[in-house]
């Protein structure tokens, strides 16, 4: 018998498990320390995770298309040092530098996707290779230097607030999340990305250009990574070749936590964003209650397993 489309309470609970976890964490840390639930700290959590959220959008698109990108961290690193070097060393105008960073990242992403198609190889393995290439490029650009004294108008993107309350970068994040959510959820091209990841053969037989869709997913993800690099360096006010490194793992963690299928074709953006903030709150809260670094690792892992158990998504996808 087919299931009726109305969701059962159980299914709704599974759907809401991440938001519930988020609220539970907020309540828990609020009880544990009075430093947690303050406007300042909450704003901090938001602002500190803006670039993670944007980056996770990129990771999600790639995973839905059936790929995986391990080179995202070094893509960010390349973009960050490039944009900052252009502005501080060569005095390139800010808008031009921004554009260069975004275009560069979209090219790097396209390169990843293109190579995976050309080599007919798994994207994870291909990006393991390109990761090393990007790392080299980043250090060649930065010459292991750190760039400070970034232009005011650049820092504006990361540090100023509209009406003195709403951080500019948070607004940028919201705009990006809304656009990505719309494209992936409501448009025909979004649907095709899901289809390409779900069953490439069925996609091919339905007349889709699956290879092109997959490469394009990497291109779009690259754009988001470029933006993410700008947001991060603008907030911290500096950039070096370690900027952004390792962020792909946070992104993949958030995606998996939210039920994005490892084999592609499944994933919901709002859940990914909630997962980003679950991880963010966890890190922030544990800092505030003075938990050491190592217990933090353990807590992170446990939360991950618990929420996997609750969503049960990935075992179903096996």
């Amino acid at each position: 018998m087919e299931k009726a489309n109305k969701k059962s309470i159980g299914e709704i609970l599974v759907d809401l498990s991440l938001p519930i976890l988020l609220v539970a964490l907020v309540i828990f840390f609020s009880i544990m320390t009075d430093k947690f639930f303050t406007p300042l700290n909450l704003t901090n959590i938001l602002v500190q995770n803006v670039h993670v959220a944007v980056c996770s959008c990129a990771v999600m698109i790639i995973m839905i298309s059936g790929g995986c990108d391990l080179s995202i961290g070094y893509q960010m690193s390349v973009a960050a040092v490039l944009v900052c070097k252009m502005m501080t060393v060569y005095g390139v105008p800010v808008p031009v530098a921004l554009l260069c960073a975004v275009v560069l990242c979209s090219l790097l992403g396209t390169f990843n996707g293109f190579m995976a198609q050309k080599l007919k190889s798994n994207t994870m393995i291909v990006t393991l290779g390109t990761m090393a290439i990007f790392q080299g490029i980043s250090y060649l650009i930065s010459e292991s230097k750190t760039y400070h004294n970034l232009p005011k108008s650049y820092m504006f993107l990361g540090q100023s607030k509209v009406f003195g309350v709403i951080p500019v970068n948070v607004i940028i994040m919201i705009v990006i999340v809304v656009i990505v959510g719309f494209v992936m959820g409501k448009t025909a091209i979004g649907r095709k990305v899901y289809a390409a990841g779900d069953n490439p053969e069925a996609g091919r037989l339905a007349g889709l250009n699956v290879a092109k869709i997959k490469v394009l997913s990497f291109t779009v993800a690259g754009v988001l990574v470029g933006i993410s690099a700008i947001l991060l360096s603008a907030r911290s006010g500096s950039a070096d070749s370690s900027t952004g490194v390792g962020i792909e793992f946070t992104g993949i963690t958030a995606c998996v936590l939210s039920g994005v299928a490892l084999k592609g074709g499944e994933g919901t953006l709002w859940k990914v964003i909630v997962a980003v903030f679950v991880l963010g709150i966890l890190a922030n809260g544990m800092q505030l209650i003075n938990l050491g670094t190592y217990p933090q690792y353990i807590a992170k892992g446990v939360i991950m397993l618990v929420s996997l158990y609750m969503t049960n998504k990935n075992s179903k996808a096996m």
Binding site: A4, N5, T187, A188, G207
Partner: protein, 505 residues
């Protein structure tokens, strides 16, 4: 229909599609060997042949899913060495594939409309409109599945219907159906025939592949036969009978569709008392040693669900299962296998076998613990086991190291059966045992089932093929909406009786 036929004979209708000298080589096999067949406008053209004859390969050539090694495809006057899938779609060729190549995690509506140009032209997908369109299409098959449901939540039969709906939405000039009735029940078949007739009336050419030869007489105009990748003949349906079809297909005559079998013994091996769970309720029956017990019912009656419950692959909510007089508590398929039960599932691609693994790997996996020497797999013993089953079940393959995905549908099913038999169960559950299996191989499977039963094994068989059910079973239990609607003994067997129970009358 008759006037139509006369027209065709009078040469009024025109050829739309012709495949000329098509050859397709796979490593070790010539799937197609210099095959030429042409198709006329508005005809229903059946393609028959044994498992592995090359039928699916032939239609995949038309749809652009594969490129032939040599030969040409002539369509509306133009010749092509091969087609791309997109090209074939744009030309108006729609295919219902045998293997149900679908987007598992996407909705019914997504599956139907994916890649349809008029749908994706606008930037934004109009969810409401396409759901309504999908509903209307599905209504043609009396299928009330919600278009927002995910494909993987549907039964095989409904997934089959989704594929048919998908072919309709493309306004195709040529619709190809590869074994569309393999998994659907009698009432749905009728609807499918209606749709085929409607398509024909609209001037659409239908290419129809089926192992159910009887149905061809109802809907087809001409029949082409393939044997071992070679073209045998094309005949008008009124000039041929079933016996001849079989003769063309297998190259010899076959006797006795349902071979006789010794009656069951009195010993009870399986008792099910008041069993509920997994969508079924209050099931009671006994299975005797050496018996073949059939299960009938419409789609959604809960036959497969019941089988999974007995196998331990689903949780019972109440009731008792006794194997050889002892109550068993099965909470996993592993428990079921330990209790001596083996399941040959209806869905061979996802549940039945490891499709991307070699044939021998599949056969040995369920008995792999016994095929080891000091924990290391004894490859000789493994290959020997596989070789034995290949012989016994006549699995048609050049080498056992071939991937199972490269086998024809019917041969894949044989691999599944071999895999289950290798674990040596006493009670065998056959869920749609001959789905997609040709008449010759079908006969072999019937013989095998009888042989198994006579050697003391007991069999539960679910089948939507009425003839097979009546021909093979010694008793039939009919389910209706998860309940046991009736039990029919051999003396009272008739299609009407089964159907009246099945529809709850």
């Amino acid at each position: 229909m008759n006037s139509n036929r006369n027209e065709r004979k009078g040469g009024v209708l025109t050829e739309v599609l012709a495949l000329k000298n098509i050859t397709k080589d796979y490593p070790g096999v010539k799937a197609l060997d210099d095959v030429s067949i042409s198709f006329e406008e508005g005809e229903v053209h059946a393609l028959i042949g044994e498992n592995g004859a090359g039928k699916s390969t032939f239609i995949k050539t038309i749809s652009g899913a594969i490129k032939p090694t040599s030969g040409t495809i002539a369509y509306e006057g133009k010749e092509y060495p091969y087609l791309e899938p997109k090209q074939a779609i744009d030309m108006g060729i729609a295919v219902v594939y045998q293997e149900l190549i679908q987007f598992e995690a996407m909705s019914v509506a997504d599956n139907i409309f994916m890649g349809v140009e008029s749908e994706s032209k606008g930037l934004v997908v109009n969810e409401k409109e396409r759901c309504e369109k999908a509903k209307a299409l599905l209504a043609k098959f009396d299928c009330d599945v919600n278009p927002a449901t995910l494909i993987r939540e549907l039964s095989i039969a409904n997934r089959q219907i989704i594929e048919l709906a998908k072919a309709m939405v493309r306004n195709a000039k040529i619709v190809i159906m590869d074994e569309p009735t393999a998994a659907i029940t009698v009432s749905e078949q009728e609807k499918l025939y209606q749709v085929v007739k409607q398509l024909k009336a609209d001037g659409v050419t239908v290419i129809y592949i089926s192992h159910r030869l009887e149905e061809l007489f109802e809907i087809c105009d001409r029949v082409s036969v393939l044997r071992d990748g070679q073209y045998v003949t094309t005949v008008n349906i009124e000039d041929i009978d079933k016996q001849d079809m079989i003769k063309y297909m297998v190259g010899r005559e076959l006797s006795n569709a349902y071979p006789p079998k010794e009656p069951a013994q009195s010993e009870v091996v399986l008792e099910v008392e008041n069993l509920s769970g997994n969508g079924v309720e209050g099931i009671n029956f006994q299975l005797h040693k050496g018996e073949i017990l059939g299960f009938a019912g419409l789609v959604g009656a809960g036959r497969t669900e019941l089988m999974h419950l007995i196998f331990g692959n689903a949780k019972k909510t109440s009731g008792i299962i006794k194997v050889k007089g002892k109550e068993v508590h099965l909470s996993s398929a592993n428990d079921g296998m330990k209790a001596g039960i083996g399941l040959i599932p209806e869905d061979r691609k996802f549940q039945g076998c490891f499709i991307d693994k070699p044939i021998f790997w599949n056969i040995s996996i369920s008995d792999i613990d016994h095929l080891t020497k000091g924990g290391v797999v004894d490859q000789k013993a493994e290959m020997k086991l596989a070789e034995d089953y290949k012989e016994r079940l006549k699995i048609k393959t050049p080498f056992l190291k071939q991937l199972t995905s490269g086998l024809s549908g019917g041969n894949q099913q044989k691999v599944v059966i071999a895999k289950v038999l290798a674990s040596n169960p006493d009670i065998l559950i056959f869920d749609e045992p001959t789905r997609g299996i040709d008449i010759g191989a079908r006969h072999e499977i019937y013989l095998l089932m009888n042989e198994l039963a006579e050697s003391g094994k007991s069999i539960l068989m679910v089948s939507s093929d009425m003839e097979e059910l009546l021909g093979m079973s010694e008793r039939i239990i009919v389910l209706h909406e998860g309940h046991q609607a009736g039990e029919i003994s051999k003396a009272e067997f008739s299609q009407e009786r089964v159907l009246s129970f099945a529809s709850g009358i």
